[in-house]
Amino acid sequence: MRSLGISKDPPMRYVRGFRDGPAAAGLSALIAAEIDPRREYHLMEFCGGHTHAIFRYGVEDLLPDNIRLVHGPGCPVCVLAVPRLDAAIELARRPEVILVSYGDMLRVPASRRRSLLKARALGADVRMVYSAFESLEIAAANPARQVVFFAIGFETTTPATAHIIREAQRLDLANLSVY
């Protein structure tokens, strides 16, 4: 029996399973058969990545008319204003700058099809970190460079950003700034 989702073949495991047209058409028909036509369904996705995927793959066209997708807030990564990201890329391109960023920012498209990842491929010093505190270590290890932490975030990341600002002061790290 053909698998609906996940192939055992590791390299294609997360690709092929999601490109199964007949399975998608089947699921679409199944959803249409399952819903109550007298009801209106409103579903909100909260992640901007989901919103991108819904539009890219035309998911709305596969759903019955009485299922409305409400596009939710998105986290600050993919709802970041493009000029802000463009400015970060310009900063990263300066030879004296090391731009430090959370990994999920690197692929977000900026204007003119640029991204931090592409800027890095073209020679900019962009470093991916798991935690803001790694900016302190990078700044301490590179006293001759300007280390800029790209302080993207919301309630959960802002305290960490505030903490590294205080630590940079305490450790007298004059070459660390936050954008």
Partner: protein
């Protein structure tokens, strides 16, 4: 960006650092943002910082749910196959 997980504090390393463990993975996290953390406590960690202390029972319930999700993900996803038109 959105992922924060409960982890168990294994040891305090001093200077507002702690050794933590979840699912066999150990990591050093900053405890600068929370008060009074002790070995055995569960904390929520986001991007390297403990951001809240958790009730032990709540934490263990969450981790059991994560385990259940992981077990489901390992299973084949053919549950709907027999119902496809």
């Amino acid at each position: 960006m959105c992922l924060a997980i409960p982890v168990r504090v294994v040891a305090l390393l001093g200077d507002q650092w702690a050794e933590t463990e979840v699912g066999g993975i150990r990591n050093r996290v900053s405890t600068a943002l929370i008060d009074q953390v002790a070995p055995g406590d569960y904390v929520i960690v986001h991007a390297g910082y403990a951001i809240a202390r958790l009730d032990v029972q709540e934490a263990e319930k969450s981790l059991a749910l994560f385990d259940e999700i992981a077990r489901h993900l390992e299973r084949p996803t053919d549950a709907l196959r027999s119902r496809l038109p």
